[in-house]
Symmetry: C2
Subunit: 137 residues, 2 copies
């Protein structure tokens, strides 16, 4: 079972974090899934703590998520509600936004004909497309 957790522990260690129980639980919760996971820290905290007798503190959620994000294991993005969202899919990809709901779009589903040059002295770090949806009436 230590073996089973190795992958989650490794992510923590390479993010500069000691693999404490709380952190390993968070890492497992985030990365032990087949499908991409989109979440806010508040949502993560609620869904994990709901099932636990010993709750993990808010600060630990924030710290852990930040470190994982800085190490590149999570991707941050923002909607128009002043809350940070995180995505376990760190490969370059795009999003549908539908009333606060987020759906991944695989990178190869969007290709460009024309892209602008970066201003002098700068280079392009990444290109992200957001497709906003509305209901068919």
């Amino acid at each position: 079972m230590n073996n089973k957790n190795k992958i989650f522990i490794d992510k923590l260690r390479s993010s500069g974090l000691r693999p404490t129980n709380q952190r390993v639980d968070i890492s497992r919760f985030l990365f032990n899934r087949k499908k991409t996971f989109h979440f806010t820290v508040e949502q993560l905290k609620n869904s994990m703590n709901l099932k636990r007798s010993k709750k993990i503190s808010t600060a630990t959620f924030y710290n852990t998520v930040h470190a994982l994000k800085s190490a590149g294991y999570l991707k941050e993005f923002s909607l128009e509600n002043n809350t940070s969202y995180y995505d376990t899919n760190i490969t370059s990809h795009h999003h549908f936004f539908d009333n606060g709901k987020v759906i991944d779009i695989k990178s190869d589903k969007i290709t460009f004909n024309k892209l602008p040059e970066a201003p002098k002295g700068k280079k392009i770090k990444n290109v992200e497309v957001v497709i906003r949806l509305e209901n068919n009436n």
Copy 2:
């Protein structure tokens, strides 16, 4: 001068707002310019109130900006710092993000080869591209 303010007053009226002095001043400040203006409510408040003896309250800035945005005279967008930014350029366009700085990209500078279909029951409202920049080293 009432005539001169007509355009700013009309934007307020068609946003469902009575053209009070405060609101007309805000509307003029926002729209009486040649170039696109990007701002947060806090920035708007500071730059306008700096020059005034009679300050406009925070709530009035928020109310006015919201109404103008809902009426479609302002466009809202978010960076990764949990603050709402607004853009007086409401035409479909894209952005460079460079360390918190925002630069407009004209719509025709980006064209697509391929775009995904909207999920069933949905249609595409708009497509926005963000190109993140970093320094050349």
